[in-house]
Every structure is written in C-alpha cells, then in structure tokens.
C-alpha cells in the first residue's frame, strides 16, 4: 500500500507532513509513504520524496491530479491524505472494504443546502481529502485535464469539482469514516479522520 501526501508551496510545512506521517505510522508502519512536493527540505527520511516536475506548472491542490498520470512513479494500491487531515482512529481499517479498481473519495453529507445542486455553481458533495485507487487506473482524468488545462483551471475551483462535473465515476467512503471540524461539531460515531476544509489550518492547534 502506498500512502501519498502532496505538499506544494508554503501553506503547509514539512513539519505538517511529518506530523501526519507520525500519526499514520502508529497504525501501519509497513506501508510505503511518499510525499509529492516542490520542497522536500526537512521531510522525515522515511518518507519517499517524489519531486514535482517543472512542467506542467500547477498551483495548490491541482498538483493532486498528477497522481493519476501514467508517469506518476508509484505502482499498486494507493491512499492519499490531505496534509490538514487529523487522524482520530485507525484510518486503514476501512481499506478491507474498498474496491481499489475504482476511485473512492470522501462524501460530505453536511453539504445539504440546495445551492450545491445548482448547475451554475459547479459545486460538489464530495471532497478529495482522502482518496483511494490503484495507480495506473483513472489516467484519463489527468490526460483530459492536460488536453485543455487552462480552461479547466478557469472553470473549476479545484479537483473535486473537476472530477464530479467532468463525469468521472467514484465510490465514497462510509459517512462514519470522517468528521468535518467546521460542519460536524457533534456526532454519534467514532470517525477515523477529521477534515478541516476551508478552515485556516495554521490557526488551529490540531497538530
């Protein structure tokens, strides 16, 4: 199993990656951990570094899409975590029930407002904070993106919207896998992870 992080720019530091890595190895230290990054300085030496190439230039979360390139140097089953993910319980237990032939992504049941369904909004009820797939599958997501990259960068605010609105199929993790820090203050289950979407990561004492 490959566990992948993507760190681009200065919003997240190597310390943030290392903290997440340290949380994850408590549950499984046998997996291969990788960080796809433009700056590997001070990353834990047990994390395999995959350099972000100079071409194409992508900003922020758009770099996550390159994990689906056929040239991405990882083979086999993969699980990706956003760096601002906090591990609450074993996040790998769920993998026994995942179909790795398909893309699996987070569902966001708290996005219940009708506004998410408006065609003009290009919004989504999913999030790419955690993704599972098999490397080499879904390469069409990257290839189609690259064929008209600039238009997609203008059209969509992020890869979640690109995936959903360009018609790529996906499964979702069980609702009990995740808790949203911002939208789910009280829940009656034990989530594996907590996500911090649209919350300023640096302002939270969550490390």
């Amino acid at each position: 199993m490959n566990v992948i992080f993507v760190k681009w720019g200065t919003k997240y530091s190597s310390d943030d990656v290392n903290a997440l890595y340290n949380n994850l190895i408590e549950y499984n230290s046998e997996y291969s951990y990788h960080c796809y990054t433009d700056d590997p300085t001070n990353l834990n030496e047990n994390i395999n570094i995959i350099d972000i190439p100079s071409y194409p230039i992508l900003k922020k979360w758009w770099n996550k899409l390159r994990m689906f390139s056929s040239e991405f140097p990882v083979r086999g089953k993969c699980i990706f975590f956003d760096i601002d993910t906090v591990i609450k319980n074993d996040p790998f237990k769920v993998l026994d029930h995942i179909d790795f032939n398909k893309l699996t992504i987070l569902d966001c049941p708290w996005k219940s407002d009708d506004v998410y369904n408006r065609a003009t909004n290009y919004d989504v009820r999913i999030a790419s904070g955690v993704i599972t797939w098999t490397a080499g599958n879904h390469t069409e997501m990257w290839e189609s993106f690259m064929a008209n990259k600039d238009y997609y960068l203008r059209k969509y605010k992020g890869i979640d919207r690109y995936i959903a609105h360009e018609g790529y199929s996906y499964n979702t993790f069980p609702h009990t896998y995740i808790q949203s820090y911002k939208y789910q203050k009280e829940i009656d289950y034990e989530p594996a992870i907590m996500t911090y979407e649209e919350v300023d990561f640096e302002s939270r004492n969550i490390k």
Binding site: S54, Y55, P56, I57, L58, K59, K60, W62, A119, T120, Y122, A147, N148, D150, Y151, L153, R154, K155
Partner: protein, 208 residues
C-alpha cells in the same frame, strides 16, 4: 464595444445555454465568453494593436496569434490592417475557441485553428503574438519565441495578477518580463510598456 460584436456575443451565449439543455452541458462557457470581451481585455489588446502598428509599418504579411482564445485580438488587428494581404491566424488548443471565434468574428477574415501554439511551423509568419503569456509555461513560451523566423516580430503580454490558478507565468514588473524575453530574441526589444488596469498591471514587449 462594437454593437454588432455585442449582439453576436449575446446570440452565442443563448446558443451555449440552449446546448446545455439538450447537448453538451458547459454553461461556464458563458462566463468565459463574457470575460473574453470585457473592458480590460479590449483595452489591453487595443494597446497592443496601437503600439505594434507603429512599429510594423507594412500593410502585408502574416500574423500568428498563439493562445488566441475567442479571437478578440485578431478582430482588433483586422480593424487596424483591413488589407487582405495581411493574413491572421488565431490558434488555441481549446477546440471551442475555433468554433466560437468563427461565430463572433466571421466577417474579419481570420483563420481560426485548433492547435498547440508550438505545434505548427511558425517560420511562415512575419509576426508571432501572444497576450496569454501568464497562462503559458515558460518552456513553451521560450519554444514559441525561438520558433519564429529571424526577421519576424514577436509581441507578448503578461501581467502581475498572480492570484488565479490559471496564471502560472506572471512577472512582477515590465523590466522582469522584458529581461526574460530578451535572451530569446534575434535582434532586440523595440518596445516595452506597462498598462495599469486597476487591480493589476499588464506588461508588453515587442521585439525581433
């Protein structure tokens, strides 16, 4: 804006909406179309035409516009060079730009093509032009400039509007942009300038 162009733009917006009901659902094209003819684009492209017209000093030749979008720049160039002996080709990798370009500017004798700006032979052109440099990877832009004929003009615009995800090749100022372009030229820079557009500046370099 020319009322005829405005009218064609509105008809095209209606087409995109109708298509979204029964065919390809891509209503973002409406916003994209509107952006392509907004005041700032009109102003910055007219600036290019005005400055380049002074330097080019010919009625004939052939211009290639790389990343030409829906064709506003080609239309403004045609207005300045109405003579048929000046050929204008507008290339864009997005196939809908060719389709919409024809619909918007079909009276302007513009050759719209769907292609990567560095995929065709650029040596046949007397000027290569791109106002989309902020969207283009440096290595592609370098290849574009180096692909021109030695005596051909190159006219480029970029900006310092870093905030957008699609803006991957901005420059802090005119000097930095000119310094980046200069080593790839056969002769020299004949013009460089800055146009303030409120929230950001647009920079232009014209050279050979």
């Amino acid at each position: 804006m020319n009322p005829e162009i405005l009218n064609r733009c509105l008809k095209l917006i209606e087409e995109v909406y109708d298509e979204s009901m029964y065919g390809e659902n891509d209503i973002y094209r409406i916003k994209d179309l509107i952006h392509s003819v907004d005041k700032n684009h009109w102003k910055s492209k007219q600036w290019l035409v005005d400055e380049f017209y002074k330097l080019y000093n010919h009625d004939n030749g052939s211009f290639y516009i790389g990343g030409g979008w829906y064709g506003l720049l080609s239309y403004l160039i045609r207005n300045a060079w109405p003579n048929e002996s000046l050929n204008i080709t507008s290339g864009d990798i997005d196939s809908r730009c060719e389709e919409f370009g024809w619909k918007l500017f079909h009276k302007s004798d513009i050759n719209f093509v769907t292609e990567d700006m560095v995929s065709s032979d650029l040596t046949e052109y007397s000027a290569i032009i791109s106002t989309s440099c902020e969207h283009i990877e440096p290595e592609i832009l370098e290849k574009f400039i180096k692909s021109k004929r030695k005596d051909a003009w190159v006219v480029l615009q970029s900006n310092n509007f870093y905030e957008l995800d699609s803006h991957i090749n901005c420059f802090p100022n005119e000097k930095a942009f000119a310094n980046w372009v200069k080593p790839f030229l056969d002769e020299k820079i004949y013009y460089s300038g800055t146009l303030n557009l409120g929230d950001f500046d647009r920079f232009m370099v014209i050279g050979k």
